[in-house]
Symmetry: C2
Subunit: 378 residues, 2 copies
């Protein structure tokens, strides 16, 4: 068996912005890329065939959720996550770190790991670096993540403590890893503190991971703070390896992240908004389709959008589905919202390959400003 | 403009069983056929693209529901039902008769029509034969239905009264109809009373409708009673016109209906069962996928089934989706259940064309018996 090659080839670079190809056992990942989130081994309301149709190239799934239900032992017995959820392309699993800190109850952290109660049934569980790597090896994603402690972004003492743990846990994750066909990415933490972020980026970079993630952002800090942290980290992380900004986000966030050296993004936002009846537009404005304004509107959500939803359905129809509580509304809005981000990143990739990212970005923010002047909903 | 030809061509006949082609403005309807129900202008949890993939050839929508929400005036403004719901193939709308009697509140029937309160908001509405034809002309389906009164099947005095109204309303519907590009079908009523069914079939047959429906069945009577009514009606209705058994049903019902001269079926059963986690098998047995038996079952619902769900997903995965309350379970089960009926009717059609319906039917019931002996869930 030829071992998979996780090498990251930078195809085009424009300052800190780059387009690349990351090898994986389930196909090349073309960057920059936006990964739809399939928390419980399904991208909510969307089938794998629909995901493939809209051009998804990487899917994320959640270790915390799948460990609790249906259990990683069941998934490995069913042939691993790709087979279980019928996604033949690349998958990334997070480590469960973020969910333990955002979802689980009665959390007790010590230097060895975290004990917590399941948000599902209150049962007690313990995650350690070794345990999360074991779970992720059972799940079998192409990219797996180190276990980290996600501190509240403005709490300096907590961030200092959490950083030490995150670093020690990163080393233990590398030690614990046994599968050769998965790439383990390290995670940089440090809240909104530039010196902590720099220290973390240096420490994590030196461990030799094939890729790096920036965690603990998009959790309540300002956009300016997020950008400042990306700039600190971007200077330190090695250029030849992919950079993943976890849990981000909006069209604007993607353009801003890519311009600060980011290659990979994921977020539940497009599918979550869809279940709350909201549609992205290309420039980040949102239409809430439950609004009576749309009840007799024959136009698609976005006349420029090539997605299945915009090619075939009116705002009036989607509003009817919402009013009638029909599940198809969540499906159609999820397809559209995911398509907006996937198309945007796809167009950005092409712009980078043509050496035109700066033009693309200038035009994006100019149009965004233009639209903000109008009332997009009328 | 060439007027659409609603002629029914019988391609093959074996006793009372036949395979045919019914012309319509949105394409030929190959019979026998099973029509998925899109009550509120959407087949619940399934997109039009998925419906087309699974070979749906005719879709039903409900006049009562669409009149109340979003309103037929809105739908006609949006270009009609085909355009509104993005279904390019043939559509059939019922008259609202059945829903007025099963769903609406504070119903008052008189010889002219029915006054009722909306089940949505309690507002008062009135449907008459003329009104329902007007609504159905706004919706613009290919096949529309006469307004009828659905009596409780065992109540003889009520059925006698309702039959007179249904017959008078059928004549008024024919009078009220103005569009030339829709076929209006008459409906035979009469509860479980052979003489009333015969009287109704004779009366309705003589009005010159291009197709006939049998209403008021599958509403609580026994299968034997349903079959007896079909046999009475089948002898009287003209052979050269299509026969539609409303609101039926299960794989077994389809085989039994076709063997008694029925060409068209519809039922919410496959999609309703799906939302209650139940899967049809080919021979009518049902698997409830919420059952823990399936949690580690790597097999598809049905190894013989060619549908998207069975080609790609295990029982274990579907059970996980149900346990995790993921919408995809309803979509995957709806696709499978619809596919079972559509494939069954498709195979029956081919058997009829080859002169082998009797063999098909014998084999179907033999296998059904065989399976009933085993425990299909183990």
């Amino acid at each position: 068996m030829v071992l998979p090659d996780f090498t990251f080839h930078v195809e085009a670079q424009e300052g800190r912005v780059r387009a690349g190809r990351l090898g994986s056992p389930h196909g090349e990942i073309l960057t920059p890329i936006f990964a739809p989130v399939g928390t419980q081994a399904t991208v909510k309301a969307v089938s794998p065939a629909q995901l493939a149709d809209l051009g998804a190239g990487l899917i994320l799934a959640n270790t915390y959720h799948l460990y609790l239900r249906p259990g990683d032992d069941l998934i490995v017995e069913m042939g691993g996550l790709h087979s279980f959820m019928n996604w033949p392309g690349p998958i990334l699993t997070d480590s469960g770190g973020f969910q333990v800190f955002s979802l689980a109850e009665n959390r007790r952290v010590d230097d060895d790991g975290v004990t917590f109660k399941s948000h599902l049934d209150g049962s007690t569980h313990r995650l350690t670096p070794e345990k999360t790597i074991g779970i992720q090896e059972n799940l079998g994603a192409d990219i797996i993540m180190a276990f980290d402690e996600c501190a509240e972004p403005y709490d300096r003492p907590y961030n200092e403590l959490a950083l030490e743990r995150t670093h020690a846990w990163a080393e233990r994750c590398l030690q614990a890893k046994t599968r050769k066909d998965q790439a383990l990415f390290g995670i940089v933490q440090g809240g909104i503190f530039p010196d902590l972020r720099a220290r973390s980026a240096e420490f994590i970079s030196n461990l030799g991971f094939p890729g790096h993630a920036i965690g603990g952002l998009s959790v309540g800090e300002t956009k300016a703070e997020m950008h400042a942290m990306l700039e600190v980290v971007d200077k330190i992380l090695p250029e030849g390896k992919p950079r993943y900004l976890m849990g981000v986000g909006t069209p604007e966030d993607l353009v801003n992240g890519i311009s600060r050296g980011i290659d990979i993004f994921d977020s539940v936002l497009p599918t979550r908004l869809a279940r709350h009846n909201a549609a992205f537009t290309r420039y980040g404005d949102r239409l809430n389709l439950v609004n009576a304004t749309f009840s007799r509107d024959p136009r698609p959500i976005d006349q420029q959008c090539p997605c299945y939803t915009c090619s075939n359905f009116s705002r009036a129809y989607i509003r009817h589905l919402i009013a009638a509580k029909e599940m198809l509304s969540a499906t159609l809005l999820s397809i559209h919202n995911l398509s907006v981000l996937i198309q945007l990143v796809h167009d950005i990739r092409n712009a980078i390959l043509e050496g035109k990212f700066r033009e693309f970005s200038d035009s994006f923010f100019a149009q965004k400003k233009e639209i903000a002047k109008d009332d997009v909903e009328t």
